[in-house]
Amino acid sequence: MPKKTYVQINSVTLAAASSSVSFGSIPQNFRDLVLVVRGTINNGVGSIRFNGDSGANYTRVGMYGDGSSAVSYSGTSVEVYNSPMTNIMNIMDYSATDKHKTYIALDSNASSFAIAQAGRWANTAAITTVAVISPASTFTAGSTFTLYGIEA
C-alpha cells in the first residue's frame, strides 16, 4: 500500500465570519505541519496560538517588501496574517518534546506586502492544537484554512 507523505489533516471554509478557527486533537504521527490560509480579515491582523497558549511565549522575525521599501521586524507574538492573504506556514517538528517549536512562513498580500517570517513558541510540549485568531476583528466568510501533515 503506497504511503502518503503529505496528508491533509483537516480543512475549514468559513460559512460566516469568525474571529477564530481551531484545529484540535492533531495527530502526532507526522513530523511537520503545514497550515495554509487564504482569507481576508475585516480589520487588523491575525495571529497563531499553539495549545491555547495566550502567554508571552512567542517570538518572531520577519521581512517584507511593500513595493517601495524592504523592512525587517521582530516581535513577541505570532502575527502572521495581513489581509487579504495567502499564507503558508511550516511548523517544524511539531510533535517533538525536546525543543521549542519553530515555524517559517510566507505571506502573500497582493495589495500590500510580500512577507517572509520565522517564529518560535518557547515550549517543548508537542503541539496538539493550532488556532488562528483575529483578536480585534473577524475572518470573512469564504476564508479557508487547511492543515497538512508531512511524514518524516
Partner: protein
C-alpha cells in the same frame, strides 16, 4: 538503500525507500526518501547515492531543523556541498536576509567549497531549545543539461534573529548524487535533536 554518512555521531535513521522496494509499490508524488535524526553531535550530515532515485523523482526537497554547538552564533551558517565537489569556483549564492531591524542582501561566488548562506542556525550561546528551520528545494536535481539551482527558505527567532531567502548555484550539469551539510569552516557540530529529512517530488 542510500548510504548516509555521518562523522563523529550516533544517530537514528529512518530510510523509507528501502521498505518501498517491494513488488507493486506505487511511488507518490511527494514522498519521504529518508530522514536523519541526530541522537548525538555530528560534524557533518550527508545524503549519498541519490542517483538511485533519478528515475522516480524530478526534484528533491530537504526539510531541516538544526543548531550547532559552536561557541558563538554570530554569522554562523552551513555550507552545502553537492556531489562531494569542493571546487569553490563552481558555487555561488545570493541571499536576502532580515535580522529583525535591517534587511540586507549579500552575494558570494568562488569562496566556499559549496553553496553558502544556506542555513543560519543557533549556537551554544543561543536560546536553549531553539532550532533553526529550513526548506531547501533542488529543482531538476537530475537534469544533465542544466546547472543546478537551489532555493532556500530558512529562519530562526531567538538571540540572533534571522529570516533568509537564498538562491544557490552549482555550476555543473551533473545529476545530483550527494548532498553534504557542514558548519562553515568546520566550526562546530550539529547537535542532538537536529533533523534532516529528504523528500522526492515527481
Amino acid at each position: 538503500m542510500a548510504v548516509r554518512s555521518l562523522k563523529n555521531s550516533t544517530l537514528e535513521n529512518f530510510a523509507n525507500y528501502s521498505s518501498s522496494m517491494n513488488a507493486g509499490y506505487s511511488f507518490q508524488d511527494y514522498e519521504l526518501i529518508e530522514s536523519v535524526f541526530l541522537a548525538s553531535n555530528a560534524s557533518s550530515v550527508s545524503f549519498n547515492n541519490l542517483s538511485q532515485y533519478a528515475t522516480e523523482y524530478k526534484h528533491l526537497q530537504l526539510r531541516i531543523l538544526m543548531r550547532t554547538n559552536t561557541a558563538s552564533e554570530v554569522g554562523m551558517q552551513s555550507v552545502l556541498t553537492l556531489n562531494g565537489n569542493t571546487t569553490s569556483s563552481l558555487y555561488a549564492s545570493h541571499t536576502l536576509q532580515g535580522n529583525g531591524s535591517t534587511v540586507f542582501s549579500q552575494s558570494i561566488a568562488g569562496t566556499f567549497p559549496g553553496i553558502a548562506f544556506t542555513l543560519r542556525h543557533p549556537a551554544s550561546n543561543g536560546v536553549a531549545g531553539a532550532f533553526a528551520a529550513g526548506i531547501i528545494d533542488f529543482i531538476d536535481a537530475y537534469s544533465t543539461t542544466k546547472n543546478k539551482t537551489i532555493k532556500v527558505f530558512q529562519g530562526m527567532a531567538q538571540t540572533e534573529n534571522n529570516i533568509n531567502l537564498n538562491s544557490g548555484l552549482f555550476a555543473s550539469t551533473n545529476s545530483i548524487t550527494s548532498v553534504t551539510f557542514q558548519p562553515q569552516g568546520a566550526n562546530g557540530d550539529y547537535v542532538a535533536g537536529s533533523r534532516f529529512s529528504l523528500y522526492g517530488i515527481r
